[in-house]
Amino acid sequence: MWDWAFTFEILPTLAKAAVISIEATLLGFVLAATLGLVLALTRIAVPWTAWPISVLVELIRSTPLLIQIFFLYFVFPSFGVTLDAFTAGVLALGIHYAAYCSEVYRAGFDNIPRGQWEASIALNLSPWTTFRDIIIPQAIPPIVPALGNYLVALFKETPLLSAIAVLELMQTAKIIGSETFRYTEPITMVGLFFLAMSLVSAAFIRAAERLLNRRPAR
C-alpha cells in the first residue's frame, strides 16, 4: 500500500513546491495585514466610509475564496491587465484575508479606552500622531494572536491556488499522482506537511500570547 522508496523519491519535488506555498502565504499575509489596517483606519478616519466598508467586508467574507480567485484571475485580462497565476492567487488570498483582518484591527481599536482619544485631543496631537504613537502601539499587541490564527488559516487555504494551476504543494502532488498513478503517498505527504506546520505555528501563537500577556498592565 505504502511505498517508502517512492515517498523519498518525490520528497525533493514536494519540498520545492512547499517553498512556493510558504511564499504565497507570507506575501498574501503581508498584503492582508496592511490592507486590513488601511480598511480599519479608513473607517475610523473618514466616518462616511464606515457603511460601504462594512458592506464590502461582509461581501468578501460571505463568498467563497475559490470564486474570488477565479474572478481575479479571469477578470483582469478583460481590463487588459494580464496577471500570472501566482500574482492573481496571492492578490485574492490577500484581499480575502484583509476583510477578516480589518475586523480584527477594528476590535483592537474598539478596545482602546475613550480617554486615550480624548487625552490626545487635549494634548493637541494631530490625528496622524495620535494613531502612530498612541492608538496603534496599544491596539496591536492584544490582537497579535488573532492575526496569527488568520496567518495559519491563510496558509491552509493555499492549496486553492492549485485550481488556477499555481505550482504549489497540492498542484505538484496532483501532477505526481497523475504521472505515476500513485496518489496515496503525495497527497498523504501534503496532508502531513500541513498538519506539522499548523501544530508548530499553533505552538508559536501560544508562545506569542504568553509573551504578550506578560507585559505590564497599562
Binding site: M1, S54, V55, E58, L59, R61, S62, T63, P64, L65, L66, I67, F70, F71, F74, V75, S78, K156, E157, T158, P159, L160, S162, A163, M170, A173, K174, G177, Y183, T184, I187, T188, V190, G191, F194, L195, S198, L199
Partner: protein, 242 residues
C-alpha cells in the same frame, strides 16, 4: 451588523439578481447557475448536519469519555483542523479508493466538509458546555440526576444558546467550502461558473451572478441563525425570571 441591515442586504441582492435576469447578457447564465446552487445548498445542509453530529460526539468524547475515546476525539480534531479542507477532499477522493473504499463524489463532498467543519465545531461545543455555570452541575447532582440526565436536561439546553453564534460562522464557512467540491468533479455553483466561463469567456456577468447567489445563501444562514439565537435566548431569560 444588525438583523435589519442583513435583511435589507438580502432583499437588495435578490432584487439585483431579479433585475439582472431581465437583461440578455445575464439571463442566459441564470438557469444553469441556479441548478448548481441547488447542489451547493444540498451539500451545505447535509454537511452541516454531519458537522453538528460529529462536533457534539467528539466534544462529549473529549470532555467525558474514557481515555481511549478522548484520544480518538483529540486525534480527529487535530487532524481535521490541522490540514486543509481541499487536501482532505482530495485524500478522500483519490487516496481512499486505493485502500478499497470508493465513494461517490457527492458522498466525499458531504463527508469531507462535514468532518472538516465538525472538528472546528467540536471546540465550540466544548467551550459552550464549559461555559455553563458550575452551580448548574451541583444543583443537578443535588437533585440526584444521573450524568446523562444532567447533560440532556440541564447542561446541553443552556450550552445550546451559547453555541448558536459560533455555529452560524461555521455554517457559512461550510457554505464557502462547498466551492471546493467543484474540484472533485461535482457540478455545483462554482463548477457551473467555471464551465460557463471557459465556454463563453463572459467573466463579469457570470461571476457577478455567482457571487450574488453565494451572498444570498450566506445571508439566509446568518439571518436564520440570528432568529434562532433570539428565540433561544428569550426562552432562557424567561426561565431565569420565573
Amino acid at each position: 451588523m444588525g438583523i435589519r441591515t442583513l435583511i435589507v442586504m438580502l432583499v437588495a441582492s435578490i432584487l439585483l439578481i431579479a433585475y439582472l435576469a431581465t437583461r440578455d447578457t445575464y439571463s442566459l447564465f441564470l438557469p444553469g447557475l441556479l441548478q448548481g446552487a441547488v447542489l451547493t445548498a444540498e451539500i451545505t445542509v447535509l454537511g452541516c448536519l454531519l458537522a453538528v453530529a460529529m462536533a457534539v460526539l467528539s466534544a462529549l468524547g473529549k470532555l467525558y469519555g474514557p481515555a481511549p475515546l478522548r484520544w480518538l476525539a483529540n486525534l480527529y480534531i487535530e487532524i481535521f483542523r490541522g490540514t486543509s479542507a481541499l487536501v482532505q477532499l482530495f485524500w478522500l477522493f483519490f487516496v481512499l479508493p486505493q485502500f478499497g473504499v470508493s465513494l461517490e463524489p457527492f458522498a466525499v463532498a458531504v463527508l469531507g466538509l462535514g468532518l472538516n467543519i465538525g472538528a472546528y465545531g467540536a471546540e465550540c461545543v466544548r467551550g459552550a458546555i464549559q461555559s455553563v455555570a458550575r452551580g448548574q452541575w451541583e444543583a443537578a447532582t443535588a437533585l440526584n440526576m444521573t450524568r446523562l440526565q444532567m447533560l440532556r436536561r440541564i447542561i446541553l439546553p443552556q450550552a445550546f444558546v451559547a453555541m448558536i453564534p459560533p455555529w452560524g460562522n461555521l455554517f457559512i464557512e461550510l457554505l464557502k467550502s462547498t466551492a471546493l467540491v467543484s474540484l472533485i468533479t461535482l457540478s455545483d455553483l462554482a463548477f457551473k461558473a467555471q464551465q460557463m466561463n471557459q465556454t463563453t469567456m463572459k467573466t463579469i456577468p457570470i461571476f457577478t451572478l455567482v457571487l450574488l447567489i453565494y451572498l444570498v445563501l450566506s445571508l439566509l444562514i446568518t439571518i436564520g441563525m440570528r432568529l434562532l439565537e433570539q428565540r433561544a435566548a428569550k426562552g432562557l431569560a424567561r426561565g431565569r425570571t420565573a
